[in-house]
Symmetry: C2
Subunit: 345 residues, 2 copies
Amino acid sequence: MTDTHMPKNVQIVLASRPHGEPTSENFRTETTAMPVPGDGEVLLRTVFLSLDPYMRGRLSDAKSYVPPFEVDAPLTAGSVCEVIESRSDDFAAGDIVLGFTGWSTYAVAPAKTLRKLDPQGVPLSTALGVLGMPGFTAYAGLAEIGHPKEGETVVVAAATGPVGSMVGQLAQRAGARAVGIAGGPEKCAYLNEIGFDVAIDHRSPTFVADLKAATPGGIDVYFENVGGAVWDAVLPRLNDFARVPVCGVIAHYNDTEAPTGPDRMPALMGSILRKRIRIQGFIQSDFASHLGDFHRTIGPLVADGTIKYREDVVQGLESAPTAFIGMLTGSNFGKLVVQVGDAPA
Amino acid sequence: MTDTHMPKNVQIVLASRPHGEPTSENFRTETTAMPVPGDGEVLLRTVFLSLDPYMRGRLSDAKSYVPPFEVDAPLTAGSVCEVIESRSDDFAAGDIVLGFTGWSTYAVAPAKTLRKLDPQGVPLSTALGVLGMPGFTAYAGLAEIGHPKEGETVVVAAATGPVGSMVGQLAQRAGARAVGIAGGPEKCAYLNEIGFDVAIDHRSPTFVADLKAATPGGIDVYFENVGGAVWDAVLPRLNDFARVPVCGVIAHYNDTEAPTGPDRMPALMGSILRKRIRIQGFIQSDFASHLGDFHRTIGPLVADGTIKYREDVVQGLESAPTAFIGMLTGSNFGKLVVQVGDAPA
């Protein structure tokens, strides 16, 4: 038996840190030997890999809530995998699990980092989106910080994405109006289709006026996941006692330096004071104790079609870098997932 | 009987709106006829007048949580007054009341806007400071937003002022370390005297390093009442999950335009996200339902000397404009009060 018949692992590593917008040169594909599970570990075959905006931060060498990726080391991500070989009593070959593994075709992971998925009811990929980290981000940020009330107006950008679309739908379930912001008419049409009260195109030259027209009574909750020009347009429209859960500022992830002035920070602090605004950053894992509630209440609503979602599935691990780079400028349409391997029958 | 024997009312009106730092030309003293109370009103003689930083906002013609003062109309303020004549069953001549009247020697006010003060136990002027609006601002902001916990570090600027000194003392009562920032060695000495864990002089050339040394474990609560260079030094030292109640940004009240760049607003939003900071503006009146608790719990602690406070009492209504202008740059030392008339025996 020669080496060429042995299965190999393909992985994508961080070749170099991007300065500004990442390019394909920052990523490198490597073929390595199959990893071998130790005691308490399992060997996994990657089916779906999750690409999410927060990963941009990890490409840089800056302190944040998750440590940076290491240069020349494999990139990691949430993933849905099939168990190939188990050295843990908790899993058996053929099980489907949610893990946090590598941008790789195979991976070894400690059993305790995995959660078994029930392949019934909803597609497996939803564990990375509407019923995964992004969906829970929306759920936790609204429940713990946003507190939308009957008759209030909730605004969210990147609204066709897995966080934004959940924010809008949960806001409506709380009796609020949902105003969704997205890039381009196709995405706006989708927002109308899934029931947002208003959809606004941030690429339109009339964006600021459109937002004003869509929020005649001002904005009570702005779920911040983009920053940039959207935040600039939202800030003057915030009502007294507005709440701004901050879970992302994707418009700034590729910034290499602070924008030119004037310095608007003092004016922001003045607005926060005068309007008694609450701005609060959060990471979904801060609210992990609510994860059970999320699955119990939202799971059935996704399964029965009440809560809508959209996925943008790209094929093949080799597509991951380009898809990731595009996501940072909004080229995906829905939750971006890479299909790395065939889903089990 | 000639007109010259009739008592007259002296009042200070807004002569013109300041552009930047107010000057004495923005104020004008007028002598008018004595006001006459109608049914349900009382005639008041002003004893103490409260000067507070928030009034700077009202000198400008900008939308805020209180409407602007009108040009050529009397300025208003919190005041401690003696009832001279009552046309209400709720008050009698000789009563001492807390009101919201004018920068004037006499005033007429509806009885329902007044609260009778008990002249026993604590000096009357405390109703404008440690046991009044500023003290309650500290109490409410800490209780509702700051939530200082055992072992945490709480930082407050303008710490010899009526808000700051209460913030520090309440933080310590909650088991936190209190770091007070003030301008000049004399004020810092006072902070040490009343028991702040550390006092830092923001005028010192080593201020940024001093703040760092005083907060080796970072900052958990920053009670924001100044903005400017203090906020700039505090922001990078905020811990994960820090809380920033915002009740004032006095450093910016005289700003005529946004400072030159770079624009630090995106970086602030990024910090809020990464560190999961909560920044929330508030006005003490938003929490008026807690006022009873405040008086019940804090009143006795002030009366028995447990909670310390300091007042800067200037004499004579005519001193009010200069005292007010100076307060905006920190020339007062303690709660600024104008003694307009003799306190009743």
